[in-house]
């Protein structure tokens, strides 16, 4: 269950399927909040052609599982799913999905917002932007 609900994968995911996977856990779920990150065409004024994500295999998966565990512990939610894509992602395509399910919607909103912020903070995943001028790792000059 845990392994299914938290994944890093090259291929696209279905929002419906991910939500159904989370909803299947309990009939007491009354509110589901999903955050879907998608590939934008513009970044800092530059036109983006494609994105390419790299991750630290093993550590990144562990951090996503830790985020789910902490969310289940610290928020009044019933279940959480996290999926992140790696490799090439075209403009308009899905990048990341976080699904938080709770009895009441406020808890689901809070957990989902926290989880995406935490994912960005602690998960070793890196984005390379391909523009017409070339490729650049985001935050190349920290």
């Amino acid at each position: 269950m845990n392994m299914d609900l938290v994944r890093i994968q090259k291929h696209d995911f279905s929002v419906n399927e991910e939500i159904e996977r989370v909803k299947a856990v309990s009939q007491s779920i009354g509110g589901v909040v999903a955050f879907l990150g998608t590939a934008r065409d513009i970044s800092k004024g530059e036109e983006i052609v494609r994105l390419d994500f790299e991750h630290y295999h093993g550590m990144a998966e562990k951090k996503l599982r830790e985020i789910r565990d902490a969310a289940l512990k610290n928020f009044n939610i019933i279940e959480m799913g996290v999926v992140h894509r790696v490799g090439n992602v075209d403009i308009g395509e899905n990048i990341v999905l976080i699904v938080a399910a709770a009895q009441h919607r406020n808890d689901a909103f809070m957990a989902c917002e926290w989880a995406i912020a935490e994912l960005k903070r602690i998960t070793p995943i890196w984005k390379k932007e391909k523009t017409r001028k070339g490729e650049v790792w985001v935050e190349e000059h920290p």
Binding site: H84, K120, T123, P124, W126, K127, W137, E139, P142
Partner: protein, 83 residues
């Protein structure tokens, strides 16, 4: 003792390699490791000194007093940009 050092994203590009096996003295501290890496990879020195680079040991974030042991997997992690 020997440790494995891995590079990711732009640090991999800078280092020109994905990973390297390094022979280091027994049970070194994170600070000692950083000094070694700067000598070994001068091109990475400014990044290793910058606060935005994190170092992991065996896939967990290392802190100041983390001790590195033989066989450990160390990684240099530039700022994350997932999500």
């Amino acid at each position: 003792m020997t440790i494995k050092v891995r590079f990711f994203a732009m640090l991999k590009t800078k280092a020109g390699k994905e990973e390297v096996n390094l022979t280091v003295s027994e049970n070194i501290s994170l600070a000692q490791l950083k000094d070694m890496l700067k000598k070994e990879f001068p091109v990475l020195a400014e990044f290793i000194d910058s606060k935005s680079i994190m170092i992991s040991v065996n896939q967990e974030f290392a802190v100041k007093n983390t001790i590195i042991k033989g066989g450990d997997e160390v990684a240099l992690l530039p700022p994350f940009s997932g999500g």
